[in-house]
Amino acid sequence: MSLEMIVLVDAVLITAVVQRGAADEIVQVAQEAGAQGATIFHARGTGVRQKRMGLLGLTVDVDKEVVYIVAPGDLADLIFERIFVAAKMDTPGMGIMWVTPLEKMATYIPHEIAARFGLHASDRHHEEGR
């Protein structure tokens, strides 16, 4: 395990709540736009207007999928736009999505990538020693 923690500060969380079965396409377009990955879980929900949609409100599934995508701040707008279009968010009842800023995030960062940005303490000491 890496004992030094590299903290990324320019990251956002994109959350999308969509009808069940729609998450896979959202993840696909998000990855094509530059997202590294996504986390998906099941939920149930309804909206106040949803009951009036379709025949007895049955065309909108109460089973939802919630998609979490952590993305760099500079890619957030592009990913958001691609998901919005792919999920047809402009159609009533298709879902909702939002972006929240993250104060910091951490994950495993391979040594060679961190070294490229001079982020590993061992590399910094090596540079200072020169």
Partner: protein, 113 residues
């Protein structure tokens, strides 16, 4: 403003940890008695990364998502603790992030009158 309008207004942070399935429960138990931790819960999820079964077919992993509501003063220390305890520094071990929350309050039962 009633007294309820002030509840939970002091600084709180929400730490979300996405871990391989099975690691959420031990982390939750490890954090339960930690100073500054107000509430911990976790739920199941599936995760997808850049790996593919074959071109165009996504590979899903089972995940646990752990939500930790913490006091802002101890948030940075707890973030570091969770990083170590959750093994976030290992490859394919997930990720964690911290957000500011406007209001937060642990689920505490009201005292009987």
């Amino acid at each position: 403003m009633s007294v309820l309008g002030h509840i939970g207004r002091s600084g709180k942070k929400l730490i979300t940890v996405i871990l391989p399935a099975g690691r959420g429960e031990p982390l939750m138990q490890r954090l339960a008695g930690e100073s500054g931790v107000l509430a911990v819960s976790h739920h199941h999820a599936r995760g997808v990364g850049t790996r593919r079964v074959k071109p165009g077919r996504m590979l899903f992993d089972e995940k646990d998502v752990t939500l930790v509501l913490v006091e802002a003063e101890q948030a940075d220390a707890l973030f570091t603790l969770i990083y170590a305890e959750g093994g976030i520094g290992e490859p394919h071990a997930g990720l964690m992030f911290m957000e500011r929350v406007l209001r937060g309050h642990p689920m505490l039962p009201f005292a009987n009158p």
